[in-house]
């Protein structure tokens, strides 16, 4: 049985667990893990005040219980695997640099903000600002992959500088807001203002997207890079069809208010 942290009951106010990641815990003894600092609101507490620790530490960490009010799970992790058995709270996987973080349920807002590497997989849906920027920062996610099997909230990939965000469901408003580079793919429809203020990078829409008037039509083509990306995503479990992988895409260039070096690729079919 992997090292398992089981939340006894949901905390009254959010619990901040910055640094609760498999690589950090791997080298610690049980007693050291239990003594780790967590913040309950503005009060310093010990991990054991909230979590029961079982199993033994190796490269894998399992978090069980209702952790929707637990923030920063897996923040800054560099290696190993962290699994959250149910829904996870805000800032899950923020600043992660490597390893794999799997959330079996939904994840809260600001998941994967400032991420630099590794993979975040969400089997449910994600909140707002997935892979976005920390407050005040120009650049959001700078590397790694985020895969969401459900829907995502607003401003997914805001300020994205590098990396790949793929969504099986719908994306909310302002997807790729102010993005600098990188790729966002959604199989479901996009909300309003996709790619607003984007400078570079690619947004791939497999269904409905209402474009801003500052995007201009460039051409229809079969982007070679995209079939590679989509094959990779299918291997990771995203339900993509052969038609989509081989398909033809309309390229819209924008945002014209910025450099117009970005693009929104809209799936047109495969004739």
């Amino acid at each position: 049985m992997p090292l398992t942290l089981t939340l006894r009951e949901p905390p009254a106010v959010p619990l901040e667990t910055e640094g609760l990641a498999p690589d950090r815990l791997a080298s610690l003894r049980r007693s050291e893990i239990e003594a780790l600092t967590v913040w309950h609101g503005n009060e310093r507490a010990q991990l054991a005040d909230f979590f029961a620790v079982s199993g033994d530490g190796d490269e894998e960490l399992l978090v069980e219980g209702d952790v929707r009010r637990v923030k920063f799970l897996g923040a800054g992790m560099t290696t190993g695997r962290l699994t959250v058995a149910r829904d996870a709270g805000m800032h899950t996987g923020a600043d992660m640099r490597g390893g794999e973080l799997v959330v079996e349920g939904d994840v809260g807002d600001f998941a994967g903000t400032g991420m630099r590497g590794g993979r975040l997989v969400v089997h449910g849906s994600a909140g707002h600002q997935l892979g976005g920027a920390h407050p005040g920062e120009r650049a959001g996610m700078r590397g790694g992959e985020i895969l969401v099997h459900g829907d995502v909230g607003d401003q997914v990939g805001a300020g994205l500088r590098r990396g790949l965000i793929a969504v099986a469901g719908r994306a909310g408003d302002g997807a790729g807001l102010r993005m600098l580079a990188g790729t966002i793919v959604a199989l479901g429809r996009f909300g309003a203002a996709a790619g607003a203020d984007m400078r570079r990078g690619t947004i791939v829409a497999m269904s409905d997207v209402t474009l801003l008037p500052t995007f201009t039509y460039a051409c229809s083509y079969r982007p070679p890079f995209l079939s590679l990306y989509l094959r990779h995503l299918r291997a990771l479990g995203l339900p993509l069809t052969d038609e989509q992988i081989e398909g033809r895409y309309a390229r819209w260039a924008g945002d014209g208010l910025e450099l117009r070096r970005g693009e929104i690729l809209i799936y047109e079919g495969n004739e």
Binding site: H134, P135, G136, E137, R138
Partner: protein
């Protein structure tokens, strides 16, 4: 009681230059002698100077606070937890108020002047200064774009009385003019003044008339600090002529130029600037009534924060990032743009080089003193590095070799300026000079009766390291910093000027308030005792 025994003392105001001697402190003052059983700090082999005095910095008030709110990312990266002696806070280029006090003290500074507060915002500045521990603080009151004053200047009204009233109403220390007339023009819609004789539209004044009238008033009142001027045309190529015009216009009247580096550019507007530092140095050398702080640019992160709102708008076009631009009714504007100075950038390297030229060419360290216009040219935390640049020619030349070559060719820095500042000269430009220019008779020196503000450094070849981590900092006779760590953090004093005015001036100002302000005259002066008291009043009239 405390005896600082056998340190090498640099007290230029009293003609002491590296003499090994004792400094005796008692009751918050420097005293002649102490009984032999008095507690002592063994300062053998150490350098003893008066506490540092920063003549121009931005540490409190609404602009500073807006800058804090604008850059949460800097705070995330620099978090200070609460300790037994200190409050929690955040750092970055615009630290929280408590952190500002701690970090100034840890740097050996004990007096700081907040350089730009609109009288309308004086309560905010005072409240933050009350929460800026350890350092004694004063603030300058903005009067360069004040509509009521403009009307008095235009109509030949009682400007001097109004200046005195404003100072008293705000609880301020001195008078600041920022781009006189230009900010008001900006508020009329994306315009500015470009020379001293441009009309400020619809108001019947010119920058020259404002400068002359206010400088005359400051001299008539005998304020301890002369009028503190941020000239027109900041940052514009060719602006050294405006700066020189300003100094010429103020000839015979005392004036202090703020961050003169930003006003020392040759060339033609719209084109690449070059250095005109030598020309300004010439003027300053010939005019003992004029002085300046340099406003050195240091490479790395900064936050430009200025009342000169049109300049901010131009800067924002450069960065394309987040910014603030604000209007303070009837008194001024404000602009804030986070900024990074880069070695390879022509303009940034030129600004850096011009600052160094001003220091190295200056013949009178008493009148060309150190500032980075914190946080505009860089944080005050970069002072130690700047001191090393001035004191260590080899280090300086190595740095010159790293920056944009074209920029260096537009300066005289490439001519291998030999000068190395001595410890005595550093003591002048960081303490004795600013204190004298501010008219703070008890600051910046270690003569009998002076404030017991002392900084003790370990002698170190690397001057940056030496000045970054003082061994001891003593404020008001209390040992605040020991072995580079804060021991206690008492409140500093508010320094304000004591200046009389005729009560009748309020009858003149009342209709102007009715016309220009959204606040009532009666609610305008700061009266809250917790903001104003305790304070040390520095009397006007003793200046000359």
């Amino acid at each position: 009681m405390l005896r600082i025994a056998q340190g090498r003392v640099y007290d230029p105001a009293n003609g002491i230059d590296g003499e090994v001697r004792d400094v005796c402190l008692d009751g918050g003052r420097v005293v002649e002698e102490l009984p032999s059983h008095a507690p002592r700090i063994d300062a053998r082999g150490m350098v003893v100077m008066p506490g540092g005095v920063d003549i121009h910095s931005h540490i409190a008030g609404p602009a500073v606070n807006a800058a804090r709110k604008l850059s949460p990312e800097e705070h995330r990266a620099d978090v200070l937890d609460r300790t037994a002696t200190t409050r929690s806070g955040t750092g970055g280029t615009v630290p929280s108020s408590f952190t500002t006090g701690y970090r100034y003290a840890l740097l050996g500074y004990t007096t700081v002047v907040e350089a730009a507060t609109p009288p309308l915002a004086a309560r905010h500045t005072l409240a933050e200064l009350r929460d800026t521990p350890i350092v004694d603080a004063a603030f300058l009151v903005l009067m360069g774009n004040n509509l009521s004053l403009f009307e008095l200047i235009r109509d030949g009204g009682p400007v001097t009385e109004a200046v005195a009233w404003l100072l008293d109403a705000a609880g301020g220390y001195g008078v600041k003019l920022v781009n006189p007339g230009g900010v008001e023009m900006w508020k009329h819609g994306n315009r500015n003044v470009t020379s001293l004789d441009d009309q400020v539209e619809g108001l019947g004044v010119t920058p020259r008339r404002v400068l002359e009238a206010v400088a005359t008033s400051v001299d008539e009142l005998g304020l301890p600090h002369p009028v503190h001027v941020h000239c027109n045309n900041l940052g514009v190529a060719g602006n050294w002529r405006t700066t020189l015009d300003t100094l010429d216009a103020l000839e015979g009247r005392r004036a202090h130029l703020a961050h003169v580096q930003f006003h020392a550019y040759g060339g033609t507007p719209g084109k690449r600037p070059r250095s005109s530092a030598p020309e300004l140095v010439e003027h300053l050398a010939a005019h003992p009534e004029h002085s300046a702080d340099v406003g050195q640019v240091m490479f790395g992160p900064a936050t430009t924060m200025t009342v000169d709102a049109p300049v901010s708008a131009l800067l924002r076009e450069v960065t394309g990032g987040k910014w603030v631009n604000a209007d303070l009714e009837a008194e001024t504007g404000c602009g804030i743009v986070p900024f990074t100075y880069r070695e390879r950038n022509y303009v940034h390297a030129l600004q850096w080089a011009i600052g160094l030229e001003l220091f190295l060419l200056s013949r009178d360290p008493w009148r060309v003193v150190l500032s980075t216009d914190h946080p505009n040219g860089g944080s005050f935390l970069s002072y130690p590095r700047l001191i090393r640049l001035l004191m260590d020619r080899e280090f300086r030349n190595e740095q010159i070799g790293r920056v944009n070559k074209k920029a260096i060719r537009r300066t005289v820095l490439g001519d291998d300026l030999e000068r190395e500042y001595t410890l005595g000269e550093i003591a002048i430009i960081t303490r004795a000079g600013p204190a004298r220019l501010l008219g703070l008779a008890d600051k910046g020196h270690l003569g009998v009766g002076a404030d017991a503000d002392v900084t003790i450094y370990s002698e170190h070849e690397d001057r940056e390291q030496m000045f970054a981590t003082p061994r001891f900092v003593i404020k008001g006779g209390r040992v605040i910093v020991e072995e580079g760590e804060l021991r206690e953090a008492p409140a500093g004093d508010l320094l304000r000027v004591a200046v009389d005015h005729d009560e009748a001036i309020e009858r003149t100002l009342a209709p102007l308030f009715e016309e220009h302000y959204s606040v009532q005259l009666a609610n305008y002066p700061v009266r809250e005792p917790w903001l104003l008291e305790p304070a040390r009043r520095v009397p006007a009239g003793g200046g000359r």
